[in-house]
Symmetry: D2
Subunit: 294 residues, 4 copies
């Protein structure tokens, strides 16, 4: 359920804390402090208030905020003993479906991390595919304490920004979403390719891919909605697969068997979860091109 | 061992039959008849003589020629009781490494085919990947007797042409080879991309690929030799994989992690085993294009 | 001055005729007849009423409607003795600035046409560049009487549709406009090319071009408005000229003198004045591509 | 008439000087000195000998070598009072066909240059189009004496290298030639575009172009010979013009009038006269791309 910013500006202090208390994990005092700065003209201003509250808090509170986060794929997460938001976020990243060796890997990393830094590993999991998540975990384990402390708190703010955007609607929403979109042009006919089936998969490895979305191009050669949109695009490698052979056959062209082009894969990496990845396909039965568009 | 056409034109009849007797399976009479038409100015003329000998032969001989071929992946082939050339050809197509269900599938097709047409299924296996081989087998099983009789004999000629080319060197070689080649251009720098690692795989399905060749581009952005050359290109779907991310990193460009483009797959079908499939990659870190070139 | 369709539906008959009487040249009776069919839910319905009125009119009236049109670049046009709308339309097409030989050519064509068909040559000049205008004139002179009569009346409707759209605003506008637009992508940097100067010229011949529009790309690599929009795109050959060398220099790339690419011309023909010609440029300092997009 | 390097190695000293005395303008002593170092294994070694002779010569001789060159487009050149090689070189660059204002411009530049540096302006004119020639002249006038002295001598060597290559055939020719070549691919049909008419023009300005070469593509989509080859490619802007509309019409495609693509111009700059400018066109009736290939 979302609240309007206007309603929030006029609500009682206790109602605000009830509504926004979970934005910062186990730290309703952040919402409380920000509420005292009302009214906020934009969601960004509200978030800035929360951020300022954290940054003004005494050191033990800031450390407690970090310590209050659950471990990734840890036992409390598996037992359900963590905040509802965290359960959903970790499940969306597939962390509730790890194999036994993968759990073991996470437990080992969690233990090393906690021993080195004294608080759990915190990451905005919505911004990462599984490979990126592990790579980032290992890279951060090598940080010095000061760098990692700052990095962890930055992730806390990223998690909070997404949660706040989901709870409050109003002017000046935070920039927490990216997009993958496409466009298919048929340059034999000089017009958009309509009716082309497209799969988007996360390409984990040559033998492991995860289907993310499927769509069919409309009369303008685009999909009615972005293939990923309204959320961060997890850092990962993706493959768009265009069933372009079927398109040209339906257009009446006489293709060989197998055709030179049948399913065209475009494989690309996403490193900026809040970016717009427009990846068009300009094709004939004998050629194609792609580029990062806009 | 190859003989020169000149030597062949001057050899004794028995030597010619000894040399070329196996070009047509279990039918040295074809070489014998062609030898009587010597001298032949070109390999093509020699082959035309062999072809004419078959076409002039009485019906029982032509049927015996078909009947003399081994079944694909059949028990005699597995027991080694077939011509050495056929063993090598079937092995190259992977027919000696089929799983038990695949053998069973071939045995069932072989039986149906022999029952319907009265001779074994003959196919120039060097011109087919495994999927194409099965697809063709099933399609030909649906032919009427006259069409299939002509098709089978045409395949006998294709097999013979490849064998003859391998045995005799001289003017006017038969056209029995195709090619897969590539070329990588770096349009950030405006020059050939040197040192790019390339894999060529036969793409059987999303989960099964077979490595065919590996190469690294030279200073002209090409591979020193075609990725497939000097033989027919088996009818199949292929994927060229270009390690272009490494190239741009080595050129000093600062790529994100993961880069937008890292390993670029170009997937294409080959329907003409004697054709030249030139499949270039024109790339930047943010775009690429391909086309069937020449 | 435009009227709303609602106002028109409620106006007096004489006011409607005053407002729309000139939509069909010297034929206010068409507006009168259509007005009697009010209310019209859309501009299209209003136009259908006018069209029906013409098609229901007795033959002499329909012929008089044709005869009431001025000749193209004819003496009455030059003397100003024609409808204000016709003057503006002919001037926009450059017909008021012809050289003496060009006038002579038009006069000869006008005379031949009138002699053959008995009414003046009528063409919706807003849909034609000068070359197309002359080519069309000559082609239509070869028509038989029935074909040309129908063609001429079709042009009357095209002229009327544009005039009506300009006079009446409301639901269901007639489709009388096309567009030329572009988009510049820099695939060295993987983002839209901002600040690129673009010229659009009508390309009459190697030695004669007419500047149509100039623009600079915005942050999205597009122009703020279409280079041609809100009117038919005259049938002609155009050239977009992109100052892409300046763009790459400003991006800090070190270009040779002269650079491989400096001003890139994209030359293309427009045959469908109501079409959308989206002609993007995807470029590096060493490559570019274009296609008809959407 | 060319001599073989072998013959030269065995000729009498006076014959060598007779043959090569004009390689360095009015300086047969250079040939004489190099001849004394015979035998030379390669043309490059012979040239290195000549270069060493110049660099070892006393200052007055080196200055005299510079002073012995004719002015560009100067009166002696017009009167024919300069070396035959210089006459031909200046004529090939169009310097014998300048307009009166252009002659005046050259005379002014020549006078300023001689006054500043004490010797005539020397440039290997075969490496420059007219715009580049003037641009270079003006730029060099701004040099300091030492830089310009070195630059002038470097040009003397460039002129000599081209003359030597033209006189002597043998191993290790000097690198004095560049190339403009092209290749046309039709990606509707997936094969080379055969029979496409191509013009190459030097693009001096929007209103002044000079036809350099014309050709028609062969079955491989290439021209039988490079459009420029066997000589330096003059530094200039060029335009390749491909009559691609005619190609697609002849292939049976139904194009609009005017077609979207008819004559496609590719405009590009050449800054490296000894480089290979391969400028292909990959086209459909609705798209095309080019890049600097190899």
């Amino acid at each position: 359920m979302t609240l309007s910013l206007d309603a929030l500006n006029e609500a009682s202090l206790s109602d605000v804390v009830a509504a926004l208390g979970a934005v910062f994990e186990h730290a309703p005092w952040v919402a409380d402090a920000a509420a005292k700065g009302r009214p906020h003209a934009t969601v960004q201003a509200l978030f800035a208030g929360m951020r300022a509250a954290v940054e003004a808090a005494p050191e033990p509170s800031r450390l407690a905020l970090l310590a209050g986060h659950p471990e990734l794929a840890g036992r409390p997460a598996r037992a359900g003993a963590i905040a509802a938001e965290s359960i959903a976020e970790q499940a969306a990243a597939g962390l509730d479906r790890l194999s036994q060796p993968e759990y073991a890997r996470f437990e080992a990393l969690n233990a090393s991390y906690r021993e080195k830094f004294g608080f759990p590993f915190i990451l905005c999991v919505k911004r990462h595919g599984r490979a990126s998540l592990l790579r980032t975990f290992e890279a951060r384990l090598a940080n010095d304490a000061a760098t990692e402390r700052a990095t962890a708190e930055a992730e806390v703010f990223r998690i909070a920004a997404i949660r706040l955007n989901a709870l409050v609607r109003g002017e000046g929403a935070l920039r927490t979403t990216g997009r993958i979109s496409t466009h298919v042009l048929d340059t034999v006919q000089g017009r958009p390719a309509c009716g082309v089936a497209i799969d988007l998969v996360e390409w984990v490895s040559a033998t492991e891919t995860v289907l993310v979305a499927q769509a069919v191009t409309n009369a303008d050669g685009r999909t009615d909605a972005p293939l990923i949109g309204g959320r961060p695009v997890p850092i990962a490698t993706y493959e768009l697969r265009f069933h372009i052979g079927d398109h040209f056959r339906q257009a009446g062209l006489d293709l060989a068997e197998p055709p030179f082009l049948d399913v065209v894969p475009l494989r690309f990496g996403v490193a900026d979860p809040e970016g717009h990845y427009h990846v068009p396909l300009v094709a004939t039965p004998w050629s194609y091109q792609t580029y990062r568009g806009s």
